[in-house]
Amino acid sequence: MNMALLIDGSLVVLILAVAIWTIAVRDSFAAVVGYAIYGLMLALAWVRLAAIDAALTEAAIGGGLTGVLLIRAAVRLRPTESVVAGEMPGRFVKALAAVLAGTVSAALAVVVLSLPVPAPTLAPQVAGHIASTGLGNAVTAVLLAFRAIDTLLEAVVLIFALIAVWTLTPDNFWGGRPGPKYDTDPNGMLAYLARLLPPVGIVVAVYVLWVGADLPGGKFQAGTLLAAMWLLAIMAGLTEAPPIRRRWLRGVLVAGTVVFLAIGFAGVPLAGAFLAYPEGFAKPLIIAIEAASMLSIAFTLALLVLGPPERSEHS
């Protein structure tokens, strides 16, 4: 008991320290690195809370993918950073920001402290009905059966985010290839890693998707892994990002949502409700949705990292 308290206590102190450092540090690149470490620490905290699904997602998205996204943003902002750092906000703005941030923190603290004990939970209902889905992982059952509409909307939000990124494309490059042309040594270390790692990564991703039915895992974690493998190959110069005008690319991007919606609407005549699964077919349908979503998520996340098109198709 004391040992566990020691570990949890150190973890809390570390998380708070990294969080404060991330805010306090002046250099934005250092702040981004701090934020990625913060994500990994949070993943450890989720592990300690026995929420392995959340831990996997936090490590993949919070630590990994968001880190890469923010590093690219920090590198892009570097030329203007010294100018912005020179503009110190006035005393009034500082005071206003402090009051606002303080109020939000205090409100959050009050809300957390006034939560009823024991906390309201739907866990018994999930445990009672999970048999009807054929799944073993309660998280997957909630995400894809009991609260499937939330997951569907999440997938749509992800595509909206990509569309928002693409709207930043300069007119003359519309439909072109996102990201710079990576000119990496074809015999260098990065190319070596990009040849060695993807087979392992793809196997692990499919495994994570497959065990997601019964154990922690699922389409988001698997999709992030696939995206990472694809980005590795692109950044090592082994393959090029596809032009965004390609029909197959747009098809893959919406495939997850389309399959999700199709199965959802098929539920209306077959099972009596939108997103309801016919008796006995829940598990295969859920796995079909997860597999299609994994591909869509992988491509969407990778293209989010690559950013808007920066060159025409043939350059």
């Binding site: 270390m189 990065l190 070596y192 890693l193 060695l196 790692l197 392992v200």
Partner: protein, 97 residues
């Protein structure tokens, strides 16, 4: 037998933690990027390796043990290549120190 295995776990994990500590001290104290990378690799390779070796007798199934060893191998691969890439950037951009 179980006492021996416990002893093995304690010794190996302690040794692994020592290498993590040494690597961290090196990262904080060494003068330039290349020597700091050198210190870090000890934590990745030896530190994690010894921790994994120490935990191997405690796994519930051979598959879990295999996963542990795979984690170690992947971290070594990523660590080695990551430090190569960092070292190259450091040599190109900074003055040789």
């Amino acid at each position: 037998m179980s006492l021996l295995l416990d002893l093995w776990t304690i010794v190996a994990v302690s040794a692994g933690v020592f290498f993590f500590l040494a690597g961290t001290v090196g990262l904080l104290r060494f003068p330039d990027t290349l020597t700091r990378l050198h210190a870090l690799t000890k934590a990745d390779n030896l530190g994690l390796g010894l921790v994994v070796l120490g935990l191997l007798p405690r796994v519930s199934s051979p598959l879990a043990g295999l996963k542990l060893v795979c984690v170690w191998l992947l971290v070594m691969l990523a660590g080695a290549i990551g430090s190569q890439l960092i070292a190259r950037v450091a040599r190109r951009s900074g003055p040789p120190a």
